[in-house]
């Protein structure tokens, strides 16, 4: 079963994304901010990361930059899932190494379709 890390400071969002992914047959790990995510990725690589942008302790862009430094996560897909839709922010995400950008609210079916596309 493929494993996905969800990073969001809002417990409700984590719950909804987790629910959708579990319905799609994925195993899920949750983290409440970037640093929490990095800690959970140590020695425990995942197949894909879905992260919010604005979070306490460590934001999504910084998280991506750090994740890309991890050899086991270098080529794994990372999706941003955020209320932010500004083109400049998307550019930042892309430059940091994000694979895609999804603006909240997400559609469960579309999210699963997107995962199927980006997962090798």
């Amino acid at each position: 079963m493929r494993k996905i890390l969800i990073v969001d400071d809002a417990v409700s969002m984590r719950q909804m994304v987790s629910f959708t992914l579990k319905q799609g047959g994925y195993a899920v790990i949750e983290a409440e901010h970037g640093q929490d995510a990095l800690n959970k990725l140590q020695g425990n690589p995942v197949d894909l990361v879905i992260t919010d942008l604005n979070m306490p302790v460590m934001d999504g862009i910084t998280l991506i930059q750090n994740v890309r430094k991890m050899p086991s996560m270098k080529s794994k897909p990372i999706l941003m899932l955020t209320t932010e839709g500004l083109a400049s922010k998307k550019e930042q995400g892309k430059a940091a190494g994000a694979t895609g950008w999804i603006v909240k609210p997400f559609d469960p079916d579309k999210l699963l379709q997107t995962l199927a596309k980006v997962l090798p």
Binding site: A10, S12, M16, N54, P56
Partner: protein, 341 residues
């Protein structure tokens, strides 16, 4: 406490309406004093907004949790139904589909009927053979009658020989002995013929009753086989119809489950309003906090003015949480409490 109220703004920058701060002193000391009186309200308003946002989030988490339970059960029901419908026996497994069982049952019944029919055919052949045996014994009876007639002829012939031997006198004495012996042998032969005739009659009677039994049994079995075949066909038809109906219902359940799953997906999308609402409230709270800080810097601390703060709007509060934030202390019931008067 949700982090967003304590840390960074979710929006990039907060632009405080300058007119609210910088233009106030120009309006004179009365306006300044009145504004200062409202300073304590800022933190209360912020707190009200924070708590409201938290309550929305808690509710959404609870609703989403319930949806998860519903969706999980629906998914399991769909999986069980689909499994039941598609289950196929491979001969090595104990699990067999209903169609396979029905087919096996049908084949077994056909086999039983076939074996019974075969027994009937064997019985029919036995009846034919007994009839042939009866005809053979009838022929034997005819042959015995002929032997009887021959014996009678021999006896007459032996009597005539005795008469002729008597006429011959002394020279015919030996011939008379032979004639007597012929008569004696003929009589013995007649006795044996009579015994054989009796045996043949007994045999024919036995064959006759066996034949009748076999014919009765054969007719009865034939009727039973036909009846069993008809009943088995009817039962199999009923079973097939029941299975088709069950399959139709289960297919409907599968479709309902899939539909429910889609509807829950739509609900999940709808529930995400909370995340956006939460962020927008956080931004308003941040604006209020900034405004309060700047006003406090300008006009003095909240404690200097809190005693004189007007209570406009407090009377409109209807919930315990609102009044608690406003610092209105009065005994009251909590959510879910029931009191009968």
């Amino acid at each position: 406490m949700n982090w967003i109220f304590q840390h960074r703004p979710k929006i990039a920058s907060v632009s405080l309406p300058q007119s609210m701060v910088e233009l106030v002193p120009e309006k004179g000391p009365d306006v300044e004093a009145e504004l200062a009186q409202y300073l304590p309200h800022f933190s209360r308003m912020s707190e009200q907004l924070k708590q409201t946002s938290k309550q929305i989030e808690d509710s959404v988490v609870e609703v989403c949790g319930s949806f998860q339970g519903i969706a999980l059960r629906a998914k399991e029901a769909v999986a069980r139904t689909a499994g039941f419908l598609s289950q196929a026996g491979d001969g090595n497994s104990d699990s067999r589909s209903f169609e396979t069982l029905l087919d096996e049952c049908s084949r077994t019944l056909v086999k039983i009927l076939s074996v019974t029919e075969e027994a009937g055919e064997i019985s029919q052949r036995a009846i034919e053979r007994i009839r042939q045996m009866d005809q053979a014994t009838q022929s034997i009876s005819g042959a015995i009658e002929q032997l009887e007639q021959i014996a009678d002829g021999n006896k007459i012939l032996a009597l005539n020989a005795r008469i002729e031997a008597a006429r011959a006198g002394e020279h015919g004495a030996g011939f008379a002995v032979v004639a007597m012996e012929v008569i004696s042998q003929t009589e013995r032969s007649q006795k044996v013929n009579a015994q054989v005739s009796e045996l043949i009659l007994s045999l024919r009677a036995l064959a006759g009753s066996t034949l009748e039994d076999l014919q009765r049994m054969n007719e009865r079995d034939h009727l039973r086989v036909e009846q069993c075949r008809s009943e088995a066909d009817e039962s199999l038809k009923n079973l097939q119809a029941a299975h088709d109906e069950m399959k139709r219902v289960l297919t409907g359940m599968t479709e309902e489950g899939a539909s429910l799953s889609q509807e829950i997906g739509a609900a999940v999308r709808g529930l995400q309003f909370q995340d956006r609402t939460s962020q927008r409230i956080a931004h308003v709270v941040e604006d209020l906090e900034t405004l309060r800080t700047r006003l406090t810097t300008r006009f003095g601390s909240e404690s200097d003015t809190s005693d004189h703060a007007p209570n406009h709007g407090f009377s409109d509060y209807t919930m315990h949480e609102e009044r608690a934030v406003a610092g209105i202390g009065e005994a009251e019931s909590g959510a879910g409490d029931v009191e009968l008067f």
